[in-house]
């Protein structure tokens, strides 16, 4: 299966077996995206509730909704579809602000410049991870460590 198959589905001239394998693989990747989105939502919800400084708790939306939106955006951004870029656009800025408030509002708070940097890293990691999940190549890069094969 080539990389383009993930975007438009497998070509019809392939055998039923190949097509069903491709379908299963797509389904697995979608389930992975949903599961990881749930993990991101849970992580964010717990993090937002770690805040103890009142000034950092004046959120625009209810806390569970914020966590759900970020988890949902991550799920969308991780789906193996062409339009997953839409979800990816939604991640960086909200994720940065959410984790910045968490890091500044927890006890003890991080210094601002550290919180800024760490929130930026959180935002970058979430964006990069979702991109990798959505567009991950099926073949390893040259020079990467190959997994050991099972003995015959």
């Amino acid at each position: 299966m080539s990389d383009t198959d993930t975007l438009h589905g497998p070509p019809q001239h392939r055998s039923r077996e190949v097509r069903s394998q491709a379908r299963r693989r797509r389904m697995l990747r979608m389930m992975t995206a949903v599961l990881l989105g749930a993990i991101v939502a849970a992580y964010t919800l717990g993090a937002l509730n770690e805040r103890v400084i009142p000034e950092d708790e004046n959120d625009l939306l209810p806390v569970p909704l914020e966590a759900l939106i970020l988890g949902g955006a991550f799920t969308l951004a991780s789906l193996p579809t062409a339009w997953s870029i839409v979800g990816r656009v939604l991640i960086p800025v909200p994720a940065f602000y959410i984790f910045l408030t968490v890091l500044l509002g927890k006890d003890p708070p991080l210094p601002f410049y550290v919180a800024f940097l760490v929130a930026g890293l959180y935002s970058a990691v979430l964006t990069a991870l979702s991109r990798d999940l959505a567009e991950r190549p099926t073949r390893p890069k040259l020079g990467s460590v190959r997994p050991r094969r099972a003995a015959p």
Partner: protein
Amino acid sequence: MILNGTSRLSVPWRSLWERLARLSVRDNEFSLIVASALISIAIGLAVIVLQVVVQRLHELNFAVPRGERLSTHGTPDWWRVLLVPCVGGALSAGAAVLIRRWRPREIVDAIEANALFGGKMSLRDSLNLALLTIISSGFGASVGLEAAYTQVGSGFASRCGQILKVRRGDLRTLVGCGAAAGIAAAFNAPLAGAFYAFELVIGNYSPAVLAPIAMAALSSTLVVRDLYGGESIFELDAQVHISGMDYALFAALGVLAAVIAIATMTGVTRIERFLRRQALPRWVGPTVGGLVVGLIATIYPQVLGAGHGALQLVLGNGLPWTVLLGLIAAKGLASAVSVGAGFRGGLFSSSLLLGAVFGGATVAALQGALHLAGFAEIELDRLAYMLVGMGAVAAAVVGAPLTMIFLVLELTGSFPAALGVMVGVIIAALVTRHTFGYSFATWRFHVRGVPIRGGFDVGWIEDLSVGKLMRKEAHTLALGSSVAEFRKRYPLTGYKRVFLVDAMGRYAGIVATADAYNPDLDKDLAQPVDALRTGVDQFLLPEQNVRTALRRFGNAETETLAVVSDGKALQVVGFMTEGYALRRYNQELERSRAEEVGEHSLYGPS
């Protein structure tokens, strides 16, 4: 002790003394019990040393006050949280690279040693692994020290057994004793330690191994209690109250615990694959892993280290369910990243914390649902659910249900809690076995391509290879030879079968001597013997084991198969009969069974 004593003796006396020492351990069950107790005392001391070293590293690296645990102590300084795991990752990777140059082969652990190598382990490799685990845990990676305890314990016991030249079965028992002593001393829980050895390291329970393993677990526990204090990983001051409805909910909790356990185990492999895909230098993986753990710990400092302190914190305080939910994600992620990125250590402790947090979040969610449904008067016991979650997730990850039940019983001293845990643990173990089929240890073996599912001895099957069992006097005849030539070279009363080979000497089939002497052939003795051959494409290879050979006999529907050098050259090097293979297989099975039950039969230990 014996070696130290003998080193001062002259050569003949030393030889006699060593022979006596081996004889007494080899032939006497009581000597094996005494040996296991003495070995376990040393292992108890080793566990204390490991714990003290890691505690000092925590005090040094994270400024933890003397005597306090890392994850109980609140949030360490931000720069320590971010920097120390990264440094630990770089150190761990550097040490691993150096060790791999010196000892390039994969380190054999207790389960693998007992399953494949008859209990033979390298003490040097075990100490190397302990060093890597100390670096990992001491610098905040989200891994436990249990791998180091069992590796050092079983490696030391195996070394002692090899010096004493004990039998294969006894060596496997000693490896189990080492692991039992390590876990019992670490958790101050002798029953859990003993059952850890039965379930994981030896692979079964039998009366023959009960006494040495129980003695080992007791000895190391008593040593640690006497020298280091009888501290458990957590202290509970509340009683557990369980009603009838709770048991049904515990079963549901067990199902969800299995899902979490499977997600964590597969998560480790996925992270490993992800890092492999990035084509990073070998030393970068653990450093990046350390950075990720540090990033997680800036929000959830409880993920640092094994998590015993956090376990006490979670069980003692009523953290809000939202924080518990976040902590499940954080701890699962941190543990998977730590192991997947290349830190050494296990998921035993991590799964205990993960399970307790999961139980706490579940009970909070259930309590909320009951309030919403108008059943506010029903109060669920938070502690009971946390203990059940702890046992269930850990049982699914570690693959040792009885160990977890006894661990909870020994740590809490509460029979109602142990009963509740039993329900959750059994369901979690059942679901994991049927849907996933592995514990974390056996999953790692599977990923590495090692075909074992536990500590039970399958090494003897590999040892019983076709190359060892075959008869080497294979008589050959050129393909195309006539019946007359055959009769001239091989009389009827001589060999039962002759192997045909082509001009290149490659195997081309078997001709039974009796077939060549069929009276119907007498009228045309010039005809080629090729028409009488059988098993043209059926042959065995010397490296195949007896089980594969028996399967080949079944498929080929023949009683004799040629053994050829390899699949391409096809040079006949011998042959094997089905009857002999079956006889040897049965003998080994009988010997193995006799060893397990301690029976002194024909093929068992004398």
